[in-house]
């Protein structure tokens, strides 16, 4: 085992004090000189033709600088398949459609002006479920496709299909089969920091935008495209990302409000800020997709899985975001969680007049794992095998390629399963708590852990720049959004370079000064950035040791002389001066440069800053700034075969819950929770615990309480009074988080991505525990007391 100075320690997060003290600057805090406040007028119908927009009153309101609509601005197309527009013309397709916007000198005037805009509509028939939208003669959400050709149905042209082996044959041969239908609700990411942007133009018509985004460089690309649509082809965007109060996938797309702030800024010649209030955050941002799944799985008489078939229908809402690609991630657990040779998976994504969806933490994986892991328990029961045993029989193993072509390298799934069973006292408790309405349940996960080649590149850049004092600016394209990215990158950089963590300064979030990165998503931030940091640090060390070979000896000699002056009895040792001219003889740790094997002699070591200053203050001097670009060894999924090793390594995990159900109220109480995750290697203990605890609590919210309720396309609970996320008092039970270290050779110091896994299997673990407790299987999340009570009553009748 390698011994590390900082990797695996519980170092505090560098961004925490400012955030806790209210000093960090979020988009809400930023004020630009001459800034105006933008506000959007949203649709009042789920589906209607726009007959007339009267902006005259708003324009006359003192303090209003601009009123824009789709009719007086250039058309800006946005979205994954460009079926969406920054401002809507002709027709609205969902309640949140942007029909007009204003910029005014203060937020109150902007709000008043928006109210003064009168829009005349002609309501159209709407479709609110994918099933209805697929019916013959259903009202079309989009009459034409993005190329202007007439559409005949509401199917989104993004189909996903994966086939391996022969499921039909396997079905006939299976000894046991379990089949069921499962669904999950729309849920909202619930970022504490709401969305917003400030757009402004310089006198050359280049755009500066402060934006809450996870993809600054792809956003730059999107915005440059918008500039071209505005007649500003060739002009550039600089994206600056302020402190982010949680993003959870909301920042993976660029949004209408951002383009509207750009249009308003261009029109007024002033910076324009649009920040959502909580209600807008709920109603005008995109929630997580709600798929409905039909699953059939089978196994042989020994409990070995023989096939898995899943058909899924997804409500896309009115437009298509990158969220439409989440089935490609669902495909991972569907094809490869547990060893299953025959797989069939097919999705249909359907336009409706509901709010359009986007990705959320887990990128589809929670929705995919929900039917799989609920149904695994059903199949285990059908086969008469304990669900833990059943999972052990089918567990993934190291060094195996799955039917999808995932090259599983390290795999700690069996250890995770075992850890959960032990911590929960599975043998003692499973199947034995019915009389007390207590039960235990577990569920596992597989997720990308080594980046994810979603785009053509999965790369990230790092620049390391050292100053006169040995401070190291680690300039990254990645984004800290609360997940602890800076904390991990700090320790990895310190370890790789050989400096103390306090010398590391993470600089991020500026497309003009930071190196390119594809985006902070897919749990790839730490994995890719720390790998890049190791590369950049290696280059820096090489340069530093080269400088050492020039300056070390003189420094050591002068030290020795000084010592002799102080202490005449001091004998200058006989030193091997040859070695001091050889760069390969040096090593560096804790800011000291020394000869290999002699780290501790204070007379024979030189500080990094001494060497750096010597290099700077010298004729024909030099400086140290290195760069590295890390692009993991992984593959795009082949669109024809749906195969490809999308990630350089895979994260596994198992979670388990012990619950008690109140038979009179239907309330599910979690008594304890275990989360065992194959994390490769812990980089920063505090951060990883934060990711796991946070993931679990978010996952329990998904399991028990979160639900974005709508009626005819309109959100009914756009606030935390009625949209229920868990808060501290709800977590009145222990969460045992266990990190299983499998030391993956692709990972930085062996680490895998862990940003998302914490919430992936949480809901089925709880549902399985509820089944164990009361014999009732809830198939649609959340598991509310109402549903449990109704099911208990049905069971009794």
């Amino acid at each position: 085992m390698t011994e590390y100075s900082y990797i695996g320690t519980e170092a505090p997060r560098p961004d925490a004090p400012d955030k806790a003290a209210g000093k960090a600057l979020y988009i809400h805090d930023l004020v630009r000189p001459g800034m105006l406040y933008g506000k959007i007028k949203f649709s009042e119908y789920a589906h209607a033709r726009i007959k007339h927009i009267d902006t005259s009153k708003a324009e006359k309101l003192p303090g209003v600088h601009a009123v824009i609509t789709g009719y007086n601005t250039p058309e800006i197309r946005i979205g994954f398949i460009r079926d969406n527009f920054a401002l809507k013309k002709d027709k609205v397709r969902q309640f949140r459609d942007e029909v007009a916007a204003v910029a005014a000198i203060d937020p109150d005037i902007a709000e008043e002006a928006v109210d003064l805009i009168k829009v005349e509509y002609e309501e159209l028939p709407s479709v609110f479920t994918p099933e209805d939208a697929l019916k013959e003669g259903a009202s079309l959400v989009h009459e034409v496709d993005t190329r202007g050709r007439p559409k005949s149905d509401n199917v989104v042209p993004v189909p996903w299909k994966f086939v391996a082996g022969d499921v039909q044959k396997a079905k006939q041969e299976a000894a046991f089969i379990a089949e069921d239908h499962f669904q999950t609700p729309l849920i909202q990411q619930s970022c504490l920091g709401t969305a917003g942007s400030i757009a402004e133009f310089d006198l050359n018509n280049n755009l500066l935008i402060h934006a809450k985004t996870q993809i600054p460089f792809l956003a730059q690309n999107d915005f440059n495209r918008a500039l071209a649509a505005m007649g500003l082809k060739g002009k550039n965007t600089r994206v600056i990302v302020p402190a982010i109060g949680g993003s959870f996938g909301t920042g993976l797309d660029t949004h209408s409000y951002e383009y509207i702030s750009i249009l308003l800024a261009y029109k007024t010649g002033r910076p324009v800020k649009i920040v959502f209030n909580r209600e807008e955050e709920f109603t005008a941002l995109s929630p997580r997709q709600p798929p409905k799944s039909h699953i059939i799985q089978g196994c042989d008489k020994d409990g070995k899985l023989t096939f898995r078939e899943i058909r899924m229908i997804l409500d896309n809402g009115a437009y298509t975001s990158w969220g439409a690609t989440t089935p490609s991630v669902m495909m991972l657990p569907i094809s490869s969680l547990y060893r299953v040779p025959n797989v069939f998976y097919e999705t249909k994504i359907v336009y409706t007049n509901n709010t359009y969806c986007q990705a959320m933490r887990g990128y589809g994986n929670p929705q995919g794992t929900w039917p799989i892991e609920s149904n695994m328990d059903q199949l285990a029961e059908a086969a008469g095998i304990d669900p833990y045993e059943f999972r052990m029989i089918n567990s993934n193993i190291p060094n195996e390629t799955s039917p999808m072509g995932l090259k599983i390298s390290t795999c700690g799934l069996k250890e995770c399963l075992k850890t959960v069973a032990e911590k929960l006292d599975w043998e003692e408790k499973h199947g034995k708590g019915r009389s007390k309405a207590r039960g235990v349940g577990m569920a596992s996960l597989l997720h990308v852990g080594g980046g994810a080649r979603v785009y053509r590149s999965d790369g990230t850049g790092i620049i390391m720049k050292l100053d006169d004092f040995g401070n190291v600016s680690v300039i990254t394209g990645g984004v800290e959004m609360g997940q602890g990215f800076d904390a991990s990158l700090t320790l990895a950089s310190a370890e790789a370079l050989g400096v103390t963590p306090d010398k590391i300064n993470i600089i991020s979030g500026d497309t003009a000064t930071c190196p390119w990165d594809v985006g902070t998503h897919a749990s790839r931030g730490a994995f890719t950035a720390c790998n890049a940091a190791i590369m950049a640090a290696d280059k820096a060390r090489e340069k530093i040791f080269h400088l050492a070979s020039e300056h070390f000896m003189r420094r050591v000699q002068s030290k020795l002389k000084k010592q002799k002056k102080k202490d005449p009895d001091f004998e200058i040792p006989d030193l091997d001066y040859e070695r001091m001219f050889d760069p390969s003889e040096f090593d560096m740790k804790e800011n000291y440069i020394f000869l290999k094997g002699e780290p501790d002699n204070p007379l024979l070591r030189v500080t990094l800053e001494e060497i750096l200053r010597a290099a700077h203050y010298k004729e024909q001097g030099t400086m140290i700034a290195t760069e590295a670009f890390y692009d993991p060894p992984n593959e795009n999924i082949d669109p024809r075969t749906s195969r490809g090793n999308i990630s350089a390594t895979y994260s596994f995990g198992t979670q388990g819950a012990e619950v008690e159900v109140d038979l009179e109220t239907g309330k599910v109480k979690v008594l304890q929770f275990v989360a065992a995750h194959d994390v490769g290697k812990v980089i920063n203990k505090q951060t990883i615990m934060g990711q796991i605890y946070g993931g679990v609590v978010m996952g329990i919210g998904y399991a028990l309480s979160e639900e974005y309720k709508t009626e005819k396309g309109k959100n009914l609970n756009p606030n935390f009074l009625d949209y229920k996320i868990l808060s501290a008092p709800d977590v009145d039970f222990p969460i045992h988080a266990e990190c299983i270290e499998t030391n993956d050779e692709k990972g930085p110091f062996g680490a895998k991505g862990v940003g998302e896994p914490g919430l992936v299997p949480t809901a089925p673990a709880i549902a399985n525990a509820v089944y164990d407790a009361i014999g009732i299987r809830i198939r649609d999340l959340p598991i509310t007391p109402e549903k449990v009570l109704a099911a208990l009553k049905e069971k009794k009748d």
């Binding site: 109150d108 239907g666 309720k709 609970n717 009074l721 808060s727 008092p729 109402e786």
Partner: protein, 287 residues
């Protein structure tokens, strides 16, 4: 948000004279945790807010023969009061799980009552304690039973210029136990249903029973017929089940974004049963 004037009178008299002088619409503000939300949601658009926060005479807890709570007493101060915790545990518990510490640091008991939400958590305990409230206005002072105070969601028997000044509770006497229970979707929630019970026992027989449920009718309910059915009886599981069934029939819950009428109905019965049991348990503990 529409602009409004803001006044901070230091005495009730000053407050009344502000009202007499004002010609637009005004409204009293206590902690503002209900009111400001309503203004922001444009449910009301007053021209002026008259803050009651500086009026010392209507704030604080005093215990003489009766317990008197100034209407401007912060929920947090009630929560921390050990005398209330000891002797009025139903009220203490209601306050303890009302909203969050941040809210309780500014919200007042008077505001909770005057807002007249069917789900107001302070209402059931005060109903079973048969509290009375004092209302004062330019025209004088009156005292009424808490049961007559609530008229409907957001409506009380007060007229515009009246101020709720004090809440008075007579100690319930020996051999009495009480409890407050609430179900929400998560720990911090507006009640889907809340309930309180206060029982005076003589051995196993209930001498006096006061029951209340909230969030299941336009106003927080006193359950008189259920109380009558229980008084004079021994408390048994059968009796509790009968009580639960009666409660289910007395309530008139609605379905909304928080819950369904069916679930609320069942929960009213369950909570009343459990509140009675807990009240008796507490009384026995105090012996």
């Amino acid at each position: 948000m529409k602009k409004f004037d803001y006044f901070q009178p230091e005495t009730l008299k000053d407050a009344y004279s502000l009202i007499e002088k004002s010609n637009g619409s005004y409204i009293y503000i206590a902690g503002g945790t209900d009111l400001i939300a309503n203004i922001k949601n444009r449910l009301i658009q007053p021209d002026a807010l008259i803050s009651l926060r500086r009026i010392k005479e209507i704030s604080g807890i005093t215990q003489n023969k009766d317990l008197t709570l100034g209407s401007m007493t912060l929920l947090r101060d009630i929560e921390k009061d050990s005398h209330i915790g000891q002797n009025y545990p139903a009220l203490a518990q209601a306050v303890k799980i009302l909203a969050t510490p941040q809210i309780r640091n500014v919200a007042t008991i008077g505001g909770n009552l005057c807002n007249s939400a069917p789900s107001a958590d302070c209402a059931p305990p005060l109903l079973v304690l048969e509290a009375s409230v004092t209302l004062e206005g330019p025209g004088g002072q009156r005292s009424i039973a808490i049961e007559d105070f609530f008229m409907g969601p957001g409506q009380t028997c007060m007229n515009m210029s009246e101020i709720l000044t004090r809440i008075r509770i007579t100690p319930p006497g020996e051999n009495t136990g009480m409890a407050f229970l609430k179900v929400g979707r998560v720990s911090t929630d507006i009640a889907i249903v809340n309930a309180a019970a206060c029982l005076t026992m003589e051995k196993n027989v209930c001498r006096k029973c006061r029951l209340s449920v909230g969030a299941v009718a336009p106003v927080p309910l006193r359950l008189r017929s259920v109380e009558k059915m229980i008084e004079g009886q021994e408390i048994s599981p059968e009796l509790l089940n009968r009580a639960g069934k009666m409660v289910e029939e007395e309530v008139k819950p609605i379905t909304d974004v928080r819950s369904t009428s069916g679930y609320r109905r069942i929960m009213s019965g369950v909570l009343i049963k459990r509140a009675i049991e807990e009240a008796i348990r507490r009384m026995e503990q105090n012996k």
